[in-house]
């Protein structure tokens, strides 16, 4: 006969055993359910990853095919199956930008930027979008952040490209001083490479820095001495700044390279004209650096041309009392020693030489205002008149140094 205590004890043990078995069963069921769920989940995630890949590939192809609107749909679908995948997000943002959804693309890139504010690519895209939105300051800030940001792959080259793009933007904004600074840094940081040097030189020329532009053209020519594009660009720059000797030399080389090379590379007609002009300008330029005898010969040749131009222009105003006061004043000056002195007189009087040169220039300037644009040698003399301080650029393509010798 069991006592109450023993009965209670047995009942308690039974209860503990029952609870233990129930908890064990529950644990087993939980493990089983977990295993099944895990198996299904792996299959599920693999399936979703496959769909994400499929749609992102379609989106990428559409983007490459120039169909950003289709790419947007495809990439959004890809992101549905793989939310937060950075590569897809970047593609989608690019597609939005290319499709003209500037604000949306800007917002999208800003979302990505918040996660990675130091990413060079994202900052570059934001800079471009800020340009489109006419937000100059933000564009500059994002460009700079891009330059100092992180890049995958060749960071040096990418940063240099971004800096050149920033310089282009600054040139467009007419902030030439800032553009020059960026270009010089870009050129200094990047290793010499023909295309990059040419690009830098072109941009420096646009930023009104011909001397440094010349340096980079020379660097480019040092790498590819006979490159027609480099010869032409350098020759034109030399012509532009008034260094007609270098202009003639480079354009002549361009002509020679073209003649020796493929017919497809034949010199363009305007290059030939420019060459002829440069050669003639060399003959007319009364540079003080020339030997005295040669300078006087140039002055005399110019004086004849200018005199003829004045006569032709004055002839348009017949009878004489209708002659404009500017031409009347010029005629009076021509009657003086600077208009009539011979070679011997000029040879010994450098002040008179300068007066004669000034008379030639005044004549071309005034007649241009009264009788319109001149042609031929008059046009060349007018060019000399309006470029009073032509530069003399260094001749060697290998030196790389810059000289700023002005008359």
């Amino acid at each position: 006969m069991l006592t109450d205590f023993e009965k209670g004890s047995i009942a308690k043990r039974k209860l503990i055993l029952r609870d233990s078995l129930a908890i064990f069963s529950l644990f087993f069921a939980t493990v089983l359910l977990f295993a099944i769920t895990l198996f299904l989940f792996r299959s599920f995630t693999a399936h979703r990853a496959g769909l994400a890949q499929l749609w992102s590939d379609r989106g990428r192809e559409a983007l490459q095919a120039g169909k950003p609107a289709d790419a947007i749909v495809d990439l959004r679908t890809a992101l549905t199956y793989s939310p937060g995948t950075r590569a897809y997000e970047l593609l989608l943002a690019q597609a939005l930008a290319e499709a003209g959804h500037t604000d949306e693309a800007y917002q999208y890139f800003m979302g990505l930027w918040v996660a990675e504010p130091g990413d060079g690519f994202i900052n570059l895209q934001l800079a471009r979008l800020a340009r489109t939105r006419n937000d100059r300051q933000s564009a500059v800030n994002f460009y700079r952040a891009s330059i100092y940001g992180t890049w995958e792959g060749d960071g040096v080259a990418r940063r240099s490209e971004v800096r050149l793009e920033l310089a282009r933007f600054l040139i467009d904004q007419n902030d030439l001083a800032a553009a020059r600074l960026e270009l010089l840094i870009a050129g200094g940081n990047a290793p010499d490479e023909f295309n990059r040097d040419m690009n830098t030189a072109d941009l420096l020329r646009q930023a009104h820095d011909p001397i440094n532009a010349w340096t980079y053209y020379l660097k480019a020519l040092a790498q590819r001495p006979g490159d027609p594009a480099a010869l032409e660009a350098a020759g034109r720059l030399a012509y532009q700044v008034g260094d007609y000797a270098n202009a003639s030399r480079l354009l002549a080389r361009l002509e020679a390279e073209s003649a020796a090379g493929d017919s497809a590379l034949s010199t363009a007609s305007d290059d030939t004209i420019l060459l002829e002009k440069a050669a003639r300008l060399q003959e007319l330029l009364p540079s003080p650096a020339l030997p005295a005898r040669e300078r006087v010969a140039h002055i005399l040749a110019g004086r004849i041309i200018a005199r003829q131009r004045l006569s032709a222009c004055s002839a348009q105003f017949n009878p004489a009392p209708k002659l404009p006061s500017a031409l009347q004043a010029l005629n009076a000056t021509w009657a003086g020693p600077e208009g009539s002195a011979g070679a011997a007189t000029l040879l010994h009087d450098s002040a008179l030489q300068d007066s004669a040169v000034q008379l030639i220039y005044d004549t071309e300037t005034q007649t241009e205002m009264v009788c319109g644009m001149p042609t031929g040698d008059d046009a060349l003399l007018l060019r000399l008149a309006t470029t009073p301080h032509p530069m003399s650029l260094p001749e060697s393509e290998g030196t790389g140094g810059t000289t700023d010798s002005r008359d």
Binding site: I23, F41, L51, W55, V73, Y81, Y108
Partner: protein, 593 residues
């Protein structure tokens, strides 16, 4: 009457009862973890199921003008209607009211068939594109799991009842990936009060559910949240406008569901069988003709709205058509939840207001995502009438505390406006339409409990000091004159506590008192009649319970079995008497309510 006579149980019986209570308490905590884990696993599986079905049925990239956007929900509607009618009749609805009904009507019981039906039919409805959400079904699935597990352990009926909210919290937490919001919602909407008995278990199960969900889905919040911030204090005005808009939108939403649901339920049985198909057809048409975002749960659209991918016009269109699509889906009896559509509408309205604000005051406006997030909270507060949950939900989803001010402001405005415009909350409308009489959680929250101070009366009975002798006590009593109107004498003991002695007790004590100095007839001195003993020593160690005026009125009730009158004392000064309450006082106070 001696209080010892009231002891109803033997020590052995008390011990057994205590052991049983201890066992249940321990099991409750242990089972809460299991329930959380299993509910979490089922919610993960549920999520996979409707996502998979969505790809299978609607294609991997649903776009407008795809015919299957109409065909799939129509056919699925037919299948769902047949299954709901003949196989899973308890699976219809959102799941919140069904869980409440289980708690208050069925002792927390939810059948396995209901759980399976809810899982399958909600997944089918969501996958087919019906406008609903997975959170409320997850809540019911969790509650069902808890119900099924708890019944295997032979627990008391009282315990069994509390398992439903424990499972509900786990299911909702796993679906939302937001444990605090889930716990608060269950407390606000299912239980209705902060019960310490189940709070620990609810927390345990919710955390277990979230841990499981995060193990599979990762710790990221439900939506990719861009920068959320409050740029300028003046921006709060825009959030106030959002609160007003949310309040009005919730009214429109509540009215439309409240009107269409009973209307459709009044139709013939055959018509009801066709209603889900008709709803599916109409929802499909919305998707086919340009707004496929309103189909399904709509999380992708919420994400897109937060990332400024819609124009104001599209945002407003999406909000309006989501209300229409959800009204159709829900009123037709298709299983599915209301949470996701509420968040959807709120996000669209928020993003729309943010976009307008951004257009006119670009320097005063934070990100559009901030507005979308606050909008979600606003609709949650106004439509589902869960203000506390709505605030924490936004904080948990955004994982950003800096947005707290706009959230509180906008949610409060929306909540108050919604209460004024629509006094009856939407879940209560549904329970009334279903003929149930479940407690209103909103009313329950606002009920002001009565306290002892509400029944407190000034002390009118004699008060004696416990440290005096019996003779001195008798003298003191004599000064009170006729004591027939005072059935109790309060004795203030030297330990600061009180003893409410009945007249009978006092008479009995005084009868044993020694004769006074007048030389009356002497009586034999017994230990109890020892003249050196004070009044409180004669009364023994027992004291009346220590009660304070701010305690619930009901807390006095158990003590009237032993004491006729209860002294109410001051919390600041030990033993200082504030007044007294009798059983009659308490009952009268309740009757006055």
């Amino acid at each position: 009457m001696n209080h010892r006579q009231f002891a109803a149980h033997t020590p052995a019986a008390d011990g057994a009862a205590q052991a049983a209570a201890l066992r249940e308490e321990r099991l409750l905590l242990l089972l809460s973890i299991f329930i959380g884990v299993i509910a979490g696993l089922l919610v993960v599986a549920f999520h996979m199921a409707f996502d998979w079905l969505s790809v299978l049925m609607r294609g991997s990239s649903p776009q407008p003008h795809q015919l299957r956007l109409i065909v799939v929900p129509t056919i699925s509607g037919l299948v769902i209607a047949v299954l709901v009618r003949y196989v899973f009749p308890e699976a219809r609805g959102s799941g919140v009211n069904q869980t409440k009904a289980a708690l208050y009507i069925h002792n927390g019981y939810i059948s396995a068939r209901t759980v399976i039906g809810k899982f399958l039919l909600s997944a089918l409805a969501l996958g087919a594109g019906f406008s609903s959400g997975p959170e409320d079904p997850s809540l019911q699935i969790g509650a069902g799991v808890a119900s099924q597990i708890s019944r295997r352990f032979g627990l008391s009926r009282e315990r069994l009842r509390v398992f439903a909210p424990i499972g509900a919290a786990a299911g909702l937490a796993a679906a939302f990936n937001a444990p605090i919001s889930a716990i608060l919602f269950v407390i606000e909407e299912v239980i209705g009060n902060w019960s310490a008995a189940v709070l620990g278990s609810i927390v345990l199960s919710a955390i277990s559910g979230v841990v499981v969900a995060r193990w599979f889905w990762g710790a990221e919040p439900m939506f990719r949240i861009p920068t959320v911030n409050l740029v300028d204090p003046r921006e709060l005005l825009a959030y106030a406008v959002l609160g007003v808009t949310g309040g009005v939108a919730s009214l429109a939403f509540t009215k439309s569901v409240g009107w269409l649901r009973p209307l459709l339920r009044r139709q013939s049985a055959t018509s009801q069988l066709l209603q889900p198909a008709a709803a599916g057809f109409l929802v499909g048409c919305i998707g086919y003709f340009g707004l496929p975002q309103v189909m399904g749960a709509g999380y992708e659209a919420i994400d897109a709205a937060m990332h400024s991918q819609f124009t104001v016009q599209v945002l407003l269109l999406l909000a309006v058509f989501k209300i229409i699509a959800t009204t159709l889906s829900f009123s037709s009896g298709t299983p599915g939840g209301m949470f996701a559509p509420t968040l959807f509408v709120g996000a669209m309205l928020g993003a729309a207001i943010g976009s307008v604000e951004h257009h006119f005051f670009p320097h005063l406006t934070g990100s559009i995502a901030s507005y979308a997030l606050v909008g979600m909270g606003v609709l949650f507060a106004a439509f589902l009438r869960a203000p506390l949950t709505s605030v924490f939900m936004v904080l948990e989803v955004s994982q950003n505390y800096s947005i707290i001010l706009p959230v509180i402001l906008a949610n409060t405005i929306a909540y108050l406006l919604s209460r004024i415009l629509q006094p009856v909350p939407v879940f209560e409308i549904f329970t009334r339409q279903d003929g149930l009489d479940l407690p209103s959680m909103e009313e329950q929250r606002e009920e002001s409990d009565l306290h002892l101070e509400d029944a407190l009366h000034p002390v009118t009975v004699p008060v004696l000091q416990g440290g005096v002798s019996l003779l001195a006590a008798a003298d003191a009593l004599a000064q009170f004159g006729d004591l027939s109107a005072a059935p109790v004498v309060l004795v203030h003991c030297s330990d600061g506590l009180w003893y409410a002695a009945t007249r009978a007790e006092m008479d009995s004590l005084l009868a044993t008192a020694p004769p006074d100095a007048a030389g009356e007839e002497s009586v034999a001195l017994t230990p109890a009649a020892d003249p050196s003993l004070t009044l409180e020593q004669r009364l023994g160690p027992e004291r009346t319970p220590v009660l304070f005026p701010d305690l619930p009125l009901a807390s006095a009730l158990p003590h009237f079995q032993r004491w006729l009158l209860l002294p109410i004392t001051n919390r600041a000064v030990r033993g200082a008497l504030e007044g007294t309450v009798s059983q009659d006082d308490v009952l009268k106070r309740y009757q006055q309510r």
